[in-house]
C-alpha cells in the first residue's frame, strides 16, 4: 500500500502554514505588525468585505502572522481550519457564541478549568445559556442531561485538577446520537499527545498560553474546526444553516460546507466581539509550537520521574496522574495516550492544609504561581491560595482536598526538580 503523502507531525510543527517569505526570503515567520492592508481596487475591497474573495483586510479579522499559527494548529489537530483568539477563554467564548443562541443549553463535564466553570455556571446564564454539569467519566450521565434545547457537549480531554481522562469516542457517540457537536478543551494534552478530531470530537479548543506556547510569555487561544459535523442536519444550528443578514443572506453551510463554523466564527465572531490574537503574540506562540514535540516528550519524561519520586516519598499520601496505577483512568490513558497523559499532576501531603502551606513556602526551583504548561516547573496549593476561604467540605465538593498540591512539571533536569520537591516535602513535615 502507498503511504499518504503528508509531512509527519514533527515536520508540520515547524513548517505547516508557512513558506519562506517570497519577497524577502525571511525564513522565520515575519511579524506583520499592521492593522490593515491596502486594497488592489474598489472591486477587490468590496469582494473582501462581502466574502466573495479571501485575503486580509483588517487585523481584527485576520493577519498574516496569526494565519500561520492558525493553519499550523489546524494541521497539527487534523482540522479544516482554525481561528486564533486573544486567550483560551476568548476561544471558548468564540466557539460558544458562534453555535449558541439565548435559550440554548449546554451539557458540560464538571471537572473543568475554574474559569470555564465560572463562564458556564455564572456568566452565560446572563445571556440565556444554561449548563448542566456531569461526571466526565460517565457517558450515560451526558446522555441523561441532554435536553430538547441542548446544543453542544463540552469537556476537557484531560480534566482539571484530577486529570480525568475523557473517553472522547464514547462521549462523541452520545453527542452525535443526539445531533450535537462535541467541543473539547485539549489544553493539557496538546495535539502531540492526542488529536481529538481523530477520535470523534468536532471542535478543539486550546489555551495556547500553556504547552503550545510553552514559555509562559504570551496569552492566546485557538478554536480548531474539525469540519466533520453536519450543522444543517437537524435545524438546531440556525447561525450556520440559515441565511445571515450580516452578509446579505449568506448561509454558511450552503456556501462553505465543512468550513461553515470557522468561516462564521471569523466573519461574525472576530468582526463583532473582536477577541483577536495580536501578530506579536502569534509570533511568540509560533516559536513554542515549533518545538512542541521535543518539549512535550521531555515534559512527559520528567513527569514520570517526578511521579516515581513522589510515589516513594513517605510525606506523600496520594498521587493523581493517569500514569500511576492508582488513577481511575490508568487503563484508558494507557490506550488513548501512548506518549503519556501530560505533565500536570496533583498529590496530597501528610498534614493537611498547614503542611501544604509549608511545602509551597519551601520550594526553591518550582515557581509558586497560577499557571500551567510553562517550560519551568510550576506549583500551587489551592487550599492556601486560590481556595483559602473555602471550608474543607466546599473544597471536597470541588474535587480539591485540603492537602492537594498541583504541579506542572517543567523541562529542568529531572534530578533538580525531584531534589527541590523532595526537600520541600521534608520541610513540610516539620511542625
Amino acid at each position: 500500500m502507498v503511504e499518504p503523502d503528508h509531512h509527519h507531525f514533527d515536520t508540520r510543527a515547524l513548517h505547516a502554514g508557512q513558506r519562506p517569505d517570497p519577497v524577502t526570503g525571511s525564513r522565520a515567520v515575519p511579524i506583520y505588525q499592521t492593522t490593515s492592508y491596502v486594497f488592489d481596487s474598489v472591486d477587490h475591497a468590496a469582494g473582501l468585505f462581502n466574502l466573495e474573495v479571501s485575503g486580509h483586510l483588517y487585523s481584527r479579522i485576520s493577519n498574516p502572522t496569526v494565519a500561520v499559527l492558525e493553519e499550523r494548529l489546524a494541521s497539527l489537530e487534523g482540522g479544516v481550519g482554525a481561528v486564533c483568539t486573544s486567550s483560551g477563554q476568548a476561544a471558548l467564548h468564540l466557539a460558544m457564541v458562534t453555535i449558541l443562541n439565548a435559550g440554548d443549553h449546554v451539557v458540560a463535564s464538571r471537572n473543568i478549568y475554574g474559569g470555564t466553570h465560572n463562564m458556564l455556571s455564572l456568566t452565560m446564564p446572563r445571556f440565556g445559556v444554561t449548563t448542566t454539569f456531569v461526571d466526565p467519566r460517565d457517558p450515560k450521565a451526558f446522555a441523561a442531561a441532554i435536553q430538547e434545547d441542548t446544543r453542544l457537549v463540552f469537556a476537557e480531554t484531560l480534566g482539571n485538577p484530577g486529570i480525568e481522562v475523557l473517553d472522547i469516542a464514547a462521549i462523541a457517540e452520545v453527542a452525535h446520537a443526539a445531533g450535537l457537536p462535541l467541543v473539547v478543551d485539549s489544553t493539557f494534552a496538546t495535539p502531540y499527545l492526542i488529536r481529538p478530531i481523530d477520535h470523534g470530537a468536532d471542535i478543539v479548543i486550546h489555551s495556547v498560553t500553556k504547552f503550545l506556547g510553552g514559555h509562559g510569555v504570551a496569552i492566546g487561544g485557538v478554536v480548531v474546526d474539525g469540519g466533520r459535523f453536519d450543522w444543517a442536519a437537524n435545524g438546531k444550528f440556525p447561525t450556520l444553516s440559515e441565511p445571515y443578514d450580516g452578509y446579505h443572506g449568506i448561509t454558511f453551510t450552503e456556501e462553505f460546507g465543512t468550513a461553515a463554523l470557522s468561516m462564521r466564527a471569523r466573519a461574525e465572531g472576530l468582526r463583532d466581539f473582536g477577541g483577536c490574537m495580536s501578530p506579536t503574540n502569534a509570533f511568540y506562540l509560533l516559536q513554542g509550537v515549533e518545538t512542541l514535540p521535543v518539549r512535550m516528550a521531555r515534559h512527559v519524561e520528567n513527569t514520570l520521574r517526578v511521579v516515581e519520586m513522589l510515589d516513594a516519598h513517605e510525606a506523600v499520601t496520594w498521587i493523581s496522574h493517569p500514569s500511576h496505577p492508582s488513577h481511575p483512568d490508568h487503563a484508558l490513558a494507557t490506550r488513548l495516550y501512548p506518549k503519556g497523559a501530560g505533565a500536570i499532576l496533583s498529590f496530597g501531603i501528610e498534614g493537611g492544609r498547614e503542611a501544604g502551606r509549608r511545602f509551597i513556602e519551601a520550594v526553591e526551583l518550582a515557581s509558586h504561581l497560577a499557571n500551567v504548561g510553562d517550560a519551568k516547573t510550576l506549583v500551587i496549593h489551592p487550599g492556601s491560595t486560590t481556595h483559602q476561604q473555602m471550608s474543607r467540605e466546599d473544597l471536597a465538593a470541588a474535587g480539591i482536598s485540603e492537602e492537594l498540591v498541583r504541579l506542572s512539571v517543567g523541562l529542568e533536569d529531572p534530578d533538580d526538580i525531584c531534589a527541590d520537591l523532595s526537600r520541600a516535602l521534608r520541610v513540610s513535615q516539620r511542625a
Binding site: E52, V53, R72, G226, F256
Partner: protein, 270 residues
C-alpha cells in the same frame, strides 16, 4: 438553493444571490461541477464572486454527493445527461465549469447536448484519468486512507506548507474532511467512473462550443502532459497554465482561476 432534477432534490450554492432575483435576470448561468468524492464547496472561491460579477452562479452537488439526493449515477454519460437536465431546470443554456470528474461530465455534456451547453471551462483533467489501485482499494472499503491519499495528491507541493489563500484554513485538512464526510461508497463509485471513461478525446473532437482549459503544472493526479491529447483534439481551446497549482487550481490559485473565468465568460457571453 434547492431545485429538482428528474424528481430529485439538488443542493447548490449560488453565492447567496438567488438566481431568480430581478437584477440578475438574463445573466449567463454558470454551473460549477465538482470532482470525485467532493461537493459544491470546492468552488467557494469562485461561486460568490461570479454571483456578484454579472452571472448567475450555481455550484451543484452531484446526485448522492453533499446535500443532493442520491443515488449516485453510474456513468459519465448518465451524469452528462443529468447536467443537460440541470440546464432545463434552470431555464436555459448553461456555461459549465468542471473540475476533474466534473470536467469529464462537462465535456461529455457539451458533445452530446450542444444546444444546452454554451461553453466549457475545465480544470484538473487529462485525456484519461487512471486511478491508483491502492486508492481504489481503500475507497472500495471506505477506508479513511482513501481521503488521506487523495488529500495528499490533490495539491501542488506548496500546500504541504501553506499559506492557504483563506486565512486560517488548511487545504489538505479541508479536502480530507469533504471526502471523509461523503456518503459511504460515493468516492469508490466516482473513481470507477473516472477510470472507465474513454470518451474524452472523441467528445473534445466533436465539441462546437468555446472551451478553456485551466491546467496546473504541478498536477500529480492528472499531470499536465496527460491533457495534451485533449488540447490537440479540441484544436481551438484556450489553455491557461498555472505555475504553482496541482490538481485543484480553484483552491490553490483562486485569483488566477477567477481571472480565467472572467476572460472566458467575457469572450463567450452574448
Amino acid at each position: 438553493m434547492r431545485f429538482d432534477v428528474a424528481g430529485r432534490s439538488v443542493l447548490a450554492a449560488t453565492g447567496a444571490v438567488p438566481i431568480d432575483r430581478p437584477e440578475v435576470a438574463g445573466a449567463p448561468i454558470v454551473v460549477l461541477v465538482h470532482g470525485a468524492g467532493m461537493d459544491r464547496t470546492v468552488w467557494s472561491q469562485q461561486t460568490r464572486w461570479l454571483a456578484h460579477h454579472g452571472t448567475r452562479a450555481v455550484a451543484v452537488d452531484l446526485p448522492g454527493h453533499g446535500g443532493s439526493d442520491g443515488p449516485v449515477l453510474g456513468s459519465i454519460f448518465e451524469l452528462a445527461t443529468w447536467i443537460s437536465e440541470v440546464s432545463d431546470a434552470l431555464g436555459g443554456a448553461i456555461h459549465v465549469v468542471g473540475h476533474s470528474m466534473g470536467a469529464f461530465i462537462g465535456l461529455e455534456a457539451a458533445a452530446e447536448f450542444p444546444n444546452k451547453i454554451s461553453s466549457l471551462v475545465l480544470m484538473g483533467l487529462g485525456a484519461a484519468m487512471p486511478v491508483h489501485p491502492d486508492l481504489q482499494t481503500a475507497a472500495d472499503v471506505d477506508d479513511p486512507l482513501a481521503a488521506d491519499l487523495m488529500a495528499g495528491w490533490m495539491h501542488g507541493p506548496d500546500q504541504k506548507f501553506g499559506t492557504h489563500p483563506t486565512p486560517g484554513m488548511s487545504m489538505t485538512g479541508t479536502a480530507r474532511a469533504i471526502i471523509e464526510t461523503s456518503p459511504s461508497g460515493v468516492l469508490a463509485e466516482d473513481l470507477k467512473l473516472c477510470a472507465e471513461y474513454d470518451g474524452a478525446i472523441a467528445a473534445a473532437a466533436a465539441l462546437t462550443c468555446q472551451a478553456t482549459l485551466v491546467l496546473g503544472r504541478l498536477d500529480r493526479m492528472t499531470p499536465r502532459k496527460s491533457a495534451q491529447p485533449l488540447v490537440e483534439a479540441l484544436g481551438h481551446a484556450n489553455v491557461v497554465e498555472l505555475a504553482t497549482s496541482g490538481h485543484a487550481p480553484m483552491s490553490e490559485e483562486p485569483e488566477a482561476v477567477r481571472a480565467a473565468l472572467a476572460d472566458h465568460l467575457f469572450a463567450t457571453a452574448d
